[in-house]
Each structure stands twice: as C-alpha cells, then as structure tokens.
Symmetry: C2
Subunit: 414 residues, 2 copies
C-alpha cells in the first residue's frame, strides 16, 4: 500500500485558489509548476516524469484526453513520461502517491506531481454537472437510498428551507452530519465551530479563496444548503493549481538545503460496500491504521494536519478516523479550540477546503503545499510552532456510503 523506499518533497508551488475566469488551465498549471521548480531550485529539464491530476476538464471544457501534456506544453520538459491521473477529489494526492512510487522504483530521480482544475464557469449548470458526473447513476441511486435511512436519525426541523441546485455531495454530507448527530449527540453548533475555525485560519493565508472570519453565530445564520449545513460550512467552487517536486533521498541530500520534507508514508485505498453501521469498518479508519503502521508513528506524534473538509462534517469525521481526536469528539474538539491554531493539534491551518477553496483535482497537493510550508517553519502568522510531523487526508468520490479513493500522507521535517 505504500512504497518501500523513501522519497522527499523538495519543492511546492500553487496559485491562489479562487475565481480565475480569465485564466486558462494551462496558465494555472504552469504557474504552479514554475513556482514548485523555483522552490526546489530545479529546472524543468531536471524533471524525469510528470504525474498530472485533473478531474473535471472533460465535463466542463470537453477536453477528455492528454490534459497534462496540453497543460504543460509551454514548459521545456523534454520527452519525459506524462501520466494523466484521476481519482475524483483525491486526484492530486493520487498523483503524489504515484510520484513517490515512481521515485521509489528508481524510474526517475525527480518526479513532478501536479493537480490543476478550472471549475468556475459562467454556466453554473455545467459546473454542477461536472460534480454529478463523478459517479454513475446506479451508484448514485444506491448511495442516496442508503443515505435516506442513514441520516434519518436527526431529521431537519420542519420549515427549514434549503438552497436549490446544490451538489448532491452536499446532500451526502448532510446525511453524514445527521448520522453523526444521532450517534454522538453532536450539534450544529459544533459543525459551525469547525467552519468558523477554518475561516479564521484562512485570514492568514494569502493563497486562500476566502479570507473573511465568521463567528459561530454567523456560520449558523448562513444560507441553508442541506440541513444542518449552511453555506460557510461547505467548500466553494474554485479554480487553482498546486504542484510538488518529489525526489529520491540522494537528490534531496544534494539539493534539499535543509528544506526537504520526507514522505514517511503515502497510502492510497479505495472504498465501497460499507453498510454504515460500524465506523471501525470504514475505509478511512482502516486506511489510517495502515498509514500509522507504515509511518512507524501514531496520531499523537502529529503536530499539524490538513484533512478533507469538503464540508465541516467531513473534518469532524476525518479527525476521528485519523485518531487525532476520540470517536465522536471531532466537533467538540473544535468547540474547545483543540484543532485551532494555538490548540493541541491544529487542523486545516490553510483554511481547508471550506475557505482555502476546493479546485477538485488540485486539492490534495494544496494540502501538501500547506504542510510542507508548516514543516519548514515558513507559514508566517499561521505557523504551528515546532511542527515536525504532519498528516494529510484527501478523499474522493463515493461508492455506496464510502469514499471511492482515500489518500493519506505523513510528512516529516528534515
């Protein structure tokens, strides 16, 4: 499940996330790549292979093939392999996972992992279709049927109005939230505390889509999306690109200049067939167990985390699956300030998907960008003091009630 040999991240780069109607995908991608190469003090000619992630350009722009080659055609990469990778919202972490494996295989000394996505379009229907096109009709129907029962424990109060035309994924997360409320006596206020924390973090992140803080009360008063979720608890539609330069230990020693970050474990898994009854059987829980085993570490060793808060309840679930907080305590930990900057285990210092933004195929590498910045001590006002070990969790798609792709990464300062 994880490459046997070490690999290091020696450069990261990303565009600001947000609305970039006037910029092409190639423009966003090459901006992130140039920044990552400059950060590593390498040239395009030093790169031995490219793993390029994108999820929705086919749906939105009709570009179904060789997206990486087209995104990067103005960069002098020579004849190196370019592999186009997709794993829904976990696409960019999948590109990182392959880059680590490719280096571990000795197939190249330096591999570029790239994630780029352009989702903002004047045609909102098309953007929504891109989301919904991410699973087939039969799978979608099974999931929604499962969710109807799953989220039944805590029904919405009568008279709640919801925003029309939102992504079906928000219905899925709403059902997850209601299930969590029923199982753990968690509350809307706890989900709001997660969102308020992440929006407060992003005030200090110049690359974030939003940089506005919200109180818990303001989050609760936000436009209803799907009960109990309000708009500030949900990730937005975003454009952006992020890249990481992955290399062998020998190259890292030569060029790392003390800024190389070690990949202690990179674990990828796929889900499906969970009946929703026992969280211990969930693919994310099981994948986290493998992650800690491969890393030779446990959740108590972690100083900072980025997790997949496509909605606030996503963060609640994932900090529990990772073992960063006890089962059922994800929301209460946010209320107590444990997962905020300055707390016991800061989660999503970048602002997370909710506030940094969520250009689907780029998100996993934006997480890595944030964690590498933290582990180098270069995160400025949002720095987690003394951060040496970091974990990223990035999930994609759904089959039944499970994530279709789960990617988790443990990074260590060198």
């Amino acid at each position: 499940m994880t490459p046997a040999a070490d690999a290091y991240v020696v450069g990261v780069g990303m565009t600001p996330f947000g609305r970039h109607l006037e910029r092409s995908l190639a423009d966003l991608a090459s901006t992130a790549v140039r920044a990552a190469l400059a950060d590593a003090d390498l040239d395009a000619a030093d790169v031995g292979a490219v793993m390029a992630a994108n999820a929705v350009q086919g749906a939105i722009e009709g570009q179904h093939g060789i997206r990486g080659q087209l995104m990067l055609r103005d960069l002098p990469f020579g004849r190196v392999p370019v592999v186009n990778v997709e794993n829904a919202c976990a696409s960019a972490s999948t590109a990182l996972h392959l880059a680590v494996a490719y280096v571990a295989a000795g197939a190249a000394d330096v591999v570029l992992a790239l994630g780029a996505e352009k989702m903002v379009t004047p045609d909102k229907e098309r953007a929504l279709a891109a989301f919904h096109g991410s699973w087939d009709t039969a799978a979608s129907e099974r999931t929604l049927a499962g969710l109807a029962a799953f989220g039944a424990g805590t029904p919405p109060p009568s008279g709640v109005e919801e925003q029309a035309g939102h992504s079906v994924f928000m219905d899925v997360y709403a059902a997850f939230a209601r299930e969590h409320m029923a199982r753990h006596a968690s509350t809307r206020e706890q989900f709001a505390a997660v969102a308020a924390k992440n929006h407060a973090h992003s005030v200090h992140n110049p690359l974030a889509q939003y940089r506005t803080s919200f109180t818990v009360e303001e989050v609760l008063a936000g436009r209803p999306v799907a009960w109990p979720l309000t708009l500030p608890m949900c990730s937005p539609v975003s454009d952006g690109a992020a890249a990481a330069v992955v290399c062998s230990p020998a190259v890292a020693r030569r060029i790392g200049r003390g800024r190389a970050v070690r990949v202690r474990a990179s674990v990828l898994a796929h889900g499906g067939s969970w009946d929703g009854q026992d969280p211990a059987e969930h693919v994310s829980r099981q994948t986290a167990a493998r992650l800690w085993e491969r890393a030779g570490l446990g959740p108590s060793d972690v100083h900072v985390a980025e997790v997949h808060d496509a909605t606030a309840v996503g963060e609640v679930q994932q900090v529990e699956h990772l073992g960063l907080v006890p089962p059922g305590e994800g929301g209460r930990a946010a209320q107590r300030g444990e997962t905020a900057l300055g707390g016991r285990i800061p989660v999503n210092p970048s602002g997370g998907l909710e506030s940094r933004g969520h250009p689907i195929g780029a998100t996993g590498l934006a997480q890595v960008h944030e964690l590498v910045t933290q582990l180098r001590g270069e995160a400025g006002a949002r720095q987690v003091e003394g951060a040496r070990i970091a974990v990223a969790e990035n999930g994609g798609g759904l089959i039944g009630l499970e994530e279709a792709a789960v990617a988790m990464t443990v990074l260590e300062a060198s």
Copy 2:
C-alpha cells in the same frame, strides 16, 4: 524512464473486441479481469493495487470520475489502491507502465493493469466527438496547419471522393502517408499490403473484431476515407477490455509455472515540438533508442511485434522508428512478406488495431495479451515459432505533429 527492477506478467485476459452494445463497461472490464486472474491462478484478494485505464467514457457516457472503482465494484478487491489513468490511445500501456513501477517500488507484489473502453453507440456523432475531444482546439489547429504543409508532397489525384464524417485522426494519418510517399517513394499499394497482412492475421484470432481476409486489390478498392487511406487500412470503432497481472520476481517464481513473461523494459515518453523535418528527432525514434538501451537488446533480437497501426501508415512509421526495418522500408517490408506470419519479423499477428479492433483505452493491453500468448507458445494457428523476445509500441494523442504519449515494452519468455 523505466523502472530499475524487474517485473513479470503472470496473467492476461481480454474480451473479444467488437460491437458490444448490450454490455456495460463494467461487464467488459470484469470479464477481462476475471480472465487475467484465472490465467495467473490468483484471486482478486491477491491483488495489491489496480491501474485502470479508460479514455472516452466521460465523453460518451458522462462518467468523468472514479471509473475504475465503478468498473470493478462487483469484484472483491478489498481496500487496495485504484488509480484511474488516461493517455489517449496509449492509456492501457500507461497503466502497464505504472503497474511495473509500482511493483518495482515494492509498493505491492501483485498489480492489475486494466484497460477498458466502450465506444460503439447508436449516436455516431458522440463517438466521433469522443475522438475529437482528445486534444484542445488550439493544439488541433496547429496540428492541422502543420499537416497541410507536411502532406503536400503527394497530393491526392483530382476527383478522389472521401468518406464524410471520419475522425480528424484519419486526416492526420493521411498526411503522414503522403509525407512518407514523398520522402521514401512509398506507394498506396504498400500501405494496402500492411492492411491485407493484418486482416489475414486476424482470421486466426478468435478475439479479433474482424476475421475476414482482404487482398491488396480489395483493400485499395475499399471505401476512401482520406487519401490515400481506404476503410480497410483504418482501425474501427470498438468496444472491449484487456487486463494483465504484473508481479514481482519472487511472486513470478512462486506462481509462474513457466508461463511468466518478464518485462525487460517499459518506457513511456511524451512528444511535442517536432518540426516534422527530421524523422531521427521524432519522439518515437528517440523513445525506441532508450527502450533498447534499457532492455539491453536491439531490434534484431526481436521475434514478434505489436505496433500501433491505427492506420496502415502507423505501422509503416513505427516499424521504422523501432528499427525493425530500415527507414522508408516499412511498406516494402510488408509487400515482401517480411512482417507477415512466417516472415523475418512478424508484426501484428493479432490483426493489429486495423483488424483486431481499437477500443482506445484497452488497446495497449491487448497488444500485451497477444505478445504474452505468443511468448508462451499458445497462439495456435498464428504462433510465431520460437518467439522469445517481443516488443509492443502504443502511441496516443497528438501535439503538433507528434504523439503525445508513446509507450514501448520489451517482453521476454521465461
């Protein structure tokens, strides 16, 4: 460019290629996977990761995400990584390349490479759009502008009528053919000899889409597509799936039963920026040079080849790039019978893309299926006697006048 450690193919499986309107992509994919696992005498539970290739399901069926997970959801693969891979017509070879790297990295002992594609649809416009969606408009315009000059050497005779509504790729290959004719004094009859040979081969392949032989005269009298190409010189629209089980040397020793085939080299490259003037600079020529270096072999060591004859001129170009015949001699070699079964170096014993069929994302693994069958001595009436070394070449997409992805593989009998 190629993994440093060895990997072996211990199982192959594929569906018949052809028109499967009544079968789903999942049905085709799982049929090929079950066949490959049975061939390896392994269970799904033995597989440590899946590299799943598909090129056009987004364009044709609107399924843009997690295609591999959905194709395989009825197979008991556990939580293993599933990576969705795309590289246009070289998608399946890219999946194989990643499988080899993943094994070489020690990330898994057994990796499944899968390619599956469903292109036949009652809506022919949609199938064509899937082809044309494979590159962006700007790249397409640059390519066609380049081709206008490129293929000008040997213009079509006046009065030639061409089939309307064919893929732009056929215009590209027609320009390649005219350039080859101008540069090497090659002829339509030579391209027809390639097509006649491949159709004759496929008569002996029960998995081929067509099993009808054509004389050179019949090929020349076929419906004109884009001068000098006629319909029997062009690959059809096809459905199908193919899979290979890749494993480490240790697993191959344990379960190979003498039928394991060694991957001596797996090379992937991307092209672009060739000005069309010097074939020695072409990405395929340069990639072949690296292939032979990595394999520690040369073209004269090869007993059988499968190359990317999306049209007959594709085979002519690629046997020259690979060094299997001298520059300019690809067509004449077919006329002399050198590349036919029983000849000096049989090429496309399966029938090739022209006759076995070309379900885009499956083609590269269909080539591997054929070569593994040949190296095991199990190819029946189309067996190349004594075949010990085989080469596959699979190209995808176009940027400017070059292939966007070139994958080449050298396989060796154990």
